[in-house]
Structure formats: structure tokens, C-alpha cells
């Protein structure tokens, strides 16, 4: 494992930890939020947004690590379609 790989792997672990915190905050927001305490709904919403961003960045880091490929599924679909697509 190169230094660059190690940095990305550490980044993924850090982001995953942030994701766990976000998940806890979403639960807190859902449990405590009410029309009188809308700030908790806002907190839960912010945590949900951050969670999406974190998951997106984890995907990006996995791609930079080479763990997931360049649109592999799409390439496979294309290849399958090439041979089984019915004649128009």
C-alpha cells in the first residue's frame, strides 16, 4: 500500500466516523423535533445533508483508491445490450 493509498484509506475512515455522528444527529433530530422545537428538525436535516456529502466523498475516495471501477456496471450493460438488443 502506497502513502497515497494510506491517506485515502484514512480519509475514508474519518468520513465514515463523521457519517456515524451524522446518523446519531438524525436520530436526535427525529426524537426531539416538534413544532415548538423546530431547531432539532433543522439539526436532523443538516445532518442528513452532511451524511449525503460524506457518502459521496467516500465513493470518490474509493474510486481514487481503485476499489471501484470506472462506471463498470454501465460498460457491462452496454456490452450486454450490444449482443441481445432486438433488431428494430
Amino acid at each position: 500500500m502506497t502513502g497515497e493509498h494510506r491517506r485515502y484509506a484514512t480519509g475514508i475512515l474519518g468520513l465514515a466516523a463523521v457519517g456515524v455522528v451524522c446518523a446519531i444527529l438524525i436520530v436526535v433530530g427525529e426524537a426531539l423535533g416538534s413544532p415548538d422545537r423546530r431547531v432539532f428538525w433543522q439539526l436532523g436535516g443538516a445532518a442528513l445533508g452532511l451524511l449525503f456529502v460524506v457518502y459521496g466523498l467516500i465513493l470518490l475516495f474509493l474510486r481514487k483508491l481503485g476499489t471501484i471501477g470506472p462506471r463498470r456496471a454501465e460498460a457491462e450493460d452496454d456490452l450486454r445490450g450490444r449482443w441481445v438488443k432486438p433488431v428494430p
Partner: protein, 391 residues
């Protein structure tokens, strides 16, 4: 002058691509997915809009109260409203980036005028839908926008008064106004998907959706923004009054803001000229193949005897100009002797680009008027431009 400016902008765009490709994997470069991102934001708008639609009451007394109820009392209602608000801005930003990118990289000429024209309609309808969304909130800004909308409509020659009466439910605000505005918001929003079909129909491999990472990051940023800076309403609208000032929204309300400063007729003329210029861009300074020093290539032709029915040209043609049909007889070459399919070129769709010729490994396609020397020269010119950009 126009072409020189476009060439300079093209170089800047390509340099930006190269710079971003150093940060992200090239197949995940967000600049390649500006259209897909606009589509994503439109999808978010539709989903959040359906949610809001269940709570909205389109009446003079109920509109502002229903929006306030959604924002303050419905669990996460304020968040969904904020997502709807910011996704609308993001849609316009992504659409404008997409427009400028395709303009600067010459992806609007010849047969690509169809996506360009449909894209202009998408932008106009998208902007109109966003502007009507501001009126639906029915606060003091909504009243100001409605008044300016009325002024702008009536400034249209010949049909202005009739149109204003039809779209706004008579002169001034009435109980018929908000249901009409709601229709003008939801109707064109639905029509955007018809326009999207037109936008994609001539493209073989359109990137309609960004990679998952950008879906998550975009959705996350919009949600985060909606939670941190919630969308809020102003004071309830009081029909009969007209607010002096109106907060500016550069994405949707620019013409309305201008209408507060300039005579409405002048604003209508400005908008018409700007949009008209947008529609003629594909035909402005357009260089026909003959003028480019290359003889007219002619529509691609299939050499029947060589075609093996492999479908490579069918998949590579970006303009859907090649279809595969059951082969009526075997080909002449050994590879083509047992073919099941035959490629057929649809003349009206072919733009004589030569991509199918590059795709075919069996020399079964040709452009009748284009010699190999011309192709070589074109490739050398393209490489020279690419090297200049890289340097």
C-alpha cells in the same frame, strides 16, 4: 472576431477540464456532467414539489397560511421547502454552465442545433416556472412580482391585455389568480420532461445522470443549505397595495427587477432580443463543410458486400443515423458471408462526421466525397489544437 472570442473561450474551458481531471478521475469530472446535474436537480424539484403540492392551498386567504403551516408545523416541511427552493437555483446554475460549456466547445453546430434549441426552451420554461414559484408563496414579494408580471404581459404588443387577463384571471388580483399561477407553475414544469425528450432524442449516448458521488454530494449540499439557511416567507400579501422594494433573485427575478427600473415595454424588448440571440447562436458564423476547405463529404454509405452486421457503427453513431435490419442476403466477403443483420444509414440524420467509418473494422462504410487525405489533414489540425491547449 466572434470566432476568435469563441476559440479563446474554448481554450479556457479545455484548460479547466484538464485542471479538474488532475483532481478527479476523468470519468467523474463534474464539468462533463453539467447537463446530468441539471436533470438531477429537476428530479429533486419534482419530488419535493409533489410533497409541497399536498399542503398548498391556492387561495388568497389560504396560500400564505398553507406555506407557513408546511414550513413550521409539518415535520421536516421547512427542510423540503428549502430543498425545493435551492434545487431550483442549482438547476438554473447547472443549466447555464451546460449551455456555456457546449457553446464554447462548439457542441451546438449542424445537427446539434436540435439539442441547443430544445435547451433554450428548457431554460426559458425553467426560468418561468421558478418565477411563478415566487408568486405562489403569496407574501409581499409575491405581490410585487405579480404586479410586475402583469405590467410585462400588458407591454406585449397586440395580445398583451388579453394574455394578462387570461393568465392572471382579469385585471388586478382575484380569487382566480393563484389557481392560474399554480397551473402556470406545475404545467410548464411537467412540460419540461417533454422538452427533455426532445433534448435527448437525437443523441446516441447522452449523459443524463451524473455519477453516484455527484448525486450524493449535490443532494447533500442542497439539503445542508436548506437546513442551515431555511427558506422563509415575507409578510402576507395585501392585495391593493404595492410594495416599494423587492429583494432581488438573480436566477429567476432579474426581468422583474429590471421592470421595476425600466419601462416594461423596454424590458420585454430586451428579453425578446436576448432570447432571440440565444436561438440564432447555432446559425451565427456557421461554417459549412465546403467553407472549411473540405469538399462536401456526402451521406455515409454502406458497402453492402463488406458489412458483417456487427452493429459497431450502430452503437457508435452519436446521431442515431444507423439502424440494423435483417440482412436480405449474405455479404460478399468471408466475414460477411454468414451475417444476420445489415447496417442501413438514415440519410436525414447523417451529418457526414465519419465516426461510423472509424468504428467499422471491415471497411463497410464510406463517405463518398471525403478522401483519406482530407481525413488525415483534419486529424492533424485537431492534434495541433490539442497540443496548443496542453502547452
Amino acid at each position: 472576431m466572434y470566432r476568435k472570442a469563441l476559440t479563446a473561450l474554448q481554450r479556457i474551458t479545455l484548460r479547466l477540464d484538464v485542471a479538474v481531471n488532475r483532481i478527479y478521475p476523468s470519468d467523474w469530472n463534474p464539468l462533463y456532467y453539467t447537463g446530468g446535474l441539471a436533470n438531477l436537480f429537476l428530479f429533486i424539484l419534482v419530488l419535493s414539489g409533489i410533497f409541497i403540492f399536498f399542503y398548498y392551498v391556492p387561495s388568497l386567504t389560504g396560500a400564505h397560511a398553507s406555506v407557513a403551516y408546511l414550513t413550521e408545523l409539518v415535520p421536516y416541511g421547512g427542510l423540503i421547502r428549502g430543498i425545493h427552493r435551492y434545487a431550483a437555483d442549482a438547476f438554473i446554475v447547472a443549466a447555464l454552465l451546460h449551455l456555456f460549456r457546449n457553446w464554447f466547445t462548439d457542441r451546438y453546430l449542424f445537427s446539434r442545433d436540435s439539442p441547443w434549441i430544445s435547451g433554450m426552451f428548457l431554460l426559458i420554461f425553467g426560468g418561468f416556472v421558478g418565477a411563478t414559484g415566487y408568486i405562489l408563496v403569496w407574501d409581499d414579494r409575491a405581490l410585487a412580482v405579480l404586479g410586475l408580471f402583469d405590467d410585462l404581459l400588458r407591454a406585449i404588443p397586440a395580445v398583451g391585455d388579453w394574455l394578462a387577463g387570461l393568465l392572471l384571471g382579469g385585471r388586478g388580483v382575484s380569487e382566480g389568480t393563484l389557481p392560474r399561477i399554480l397551473l402556470l407553475h406545475v404545467g410548464p414544469a411537467s412540460f419540461l420532461y417533454v422538452l427533455l425528450w426532445w433534448h435527448y432524442v437525437r443523441l446516441r449516448h447522452p449523459k443524463v445522470w451524473p455519477p453516484a458521488t455527484w448525486v450524493l454530494v449535490s443532494l447533500g449540499l442542497v439539503t445542508l443549505l436548506a437546513a442551515v439557511i431555511p427558506a422563509v416567507s415575507g409578510i402576507p400579501a395585501q392585495p391593493g397595495t404595492r410594495p416599494e422594494t423587492m429583494p432581488l433573485d438573480v436566477f429567476f427575478l432579474l426581468p422583474f427587477w429590471l421592470a421595476g427600473l425600466l419601462p416594461p415595454g423596454l424590458v420585454v424588448a430586451l428579453v425578446a432580443v436576448t432570447l432571440g440571440a440565444g436561438f440564432v447562436i447555432p446559425y451565427l458564423g456557421r461554417e459549412e463543410p465546403r467553407e472549411m476547405g473540405v469538399r462536401h463529404a456526402g451521406v455515409a454509405q454502406v458497402i453492402d458486400g463488406n458489412c458483417t452486421g456487427c452493429e459497431l457503427c450502430y452503437y457508435d453513431c452519436p446521431y442515431n443515423a444507423i439502424v440494423m435490419v435483417p440482412s436480405p442476403h449474405p455479404g460478399l466477403s468471408r466475414a460477411a458471408a454468414s451475417r444476420k443483420l445489415l447496417a442501413v444509414v438514415i440519410d436525414s440524420r447523417c451529418v457526414e462526421c465519419g465516426i461510423c467509418i472509424g468504428a467499422c473494422p471491415f471497411e463497410a462504410l464510406e463517405l463518398p466525397g471525403l478522401l483519406e487525405a482530407d481525413v488525415t489533414r483534419r486529424v492533424q489540425e485537431a492534434v495541433a489544437v490539442a497540443e496548443t491547449v496542453r502547452a
